[in-house]
Amino acid sequence: MSNIPQKLSEFLETLSMFSDESQRINLLISYADKFKAVTEEIAQRPYSDENKVPFCESGAYVWVKKNTDGTLKFYFAVENPQGISAKALAAILDKTLSGEKPEAVFNLPDDLVYKIFGQGLSMGKNMGLTGMMQMIQRKSKALSM
């Protein structure tokens, strides 16, 4: 996991230790429980389409801000109350990638959603969650220029 930032790498390692799927699901849900939506200081409703994740039925939005030291901070909104997987992913990305430099984020491998959610992910969910990943990578890249 050489091109994966340390906190994210540690999270994936923890996840991989759960051979039982229900434990794995419970870990993901514990992240969803910790999800905190973007505050009004960062974004106000109605949120801009520019921040809306394409292909996401959970109504996910993403904001990326650059700190003074050049690291990034990620913010999310998930408008669909049933968007539990989107909330889990948002919380994981915030916990493990906020504080990283842009290049650490836009160089992430393409299969992270699969690594986190596994084979049980439906096609629709996969598209939405991958859309979240791709959006933080795109926005991180834009901030690196």
Partner: protein, 286 residues
Amino acid sequence: MKIEDRKYAHPEVLVSTDWAADHLKDEGIRIIESNEDQLLYSSGHIPGAVHVDWTKDLNDQVIRDYLNKDSFKKLMSRIGVSNTTTVIFYGDKNNWWACYAYWVFKLFGHVKAKVMDGGRLKWEIEKRELTRDVPTYPETKYKAKERDDKTIRAFRVDVLKHISAGKKLVDVRSPEEYSGERLHMPNYPNEGALRGGHIPGAKSIPWAKAINPDDGTFKTADELKQIYEKENNLNSKDNVIAYCRIGERSSHTWFVLKNLLGYDHVRNYDGSWTEWGNLVGVPIEK
């Protein structure tokens, strides 16, 4: 409007959220949640409800087919369902996956099956109790029947005969998939169909037209007749095959035609577009 006032052909296949809430602890009732999102059940479900996963529990894990008699027997035993248990399905996406599970249970002839109108969405809107406690029930000795693949399921050969006979088909995918503009539904990427379009003669009636989007409940029989019969010329005496991409959305339409409008001869072609759009030499319309 109450279920009994909606003039359905078989109103007994639906229960309201009120009814479900009043019967959670009844002997002989098993509430079953079936969702697209793999985290939803564990994040909170109706007290006492068990989980049936559409990929792992209902499908064979090697070949493209549903579980067999033995697997169904094991599933029913695991979730504590006997031959006399009434199963009540509910789930996300306007009961899309609940209807899919209902249809699979019907392949095995489980008689006592119903769907909770409005599904998970309505239960949540009404702020009813959800729990993370996973219930366990004593294993049962379920006597499973052989899967009946003829009465409510159609295969590609059946569809070819159906077309030749000029019988009716319903394409429940999005209009863009029907026209061939897309090879998959909006938000769902390509699943390998090499050709776009629809089966010749199929009417385009997207599955979600049968639902009130605000609370996920089914529309009344009059509203459904307007959609399926007045606008699309179907008739309850028709022999109809419904299809979509992999047979899940069309199981929802199958449920509507069979149970709410009382069509006696309606089948679900679960091979659907992922099969038809890849078959060599079959006719396609755009």
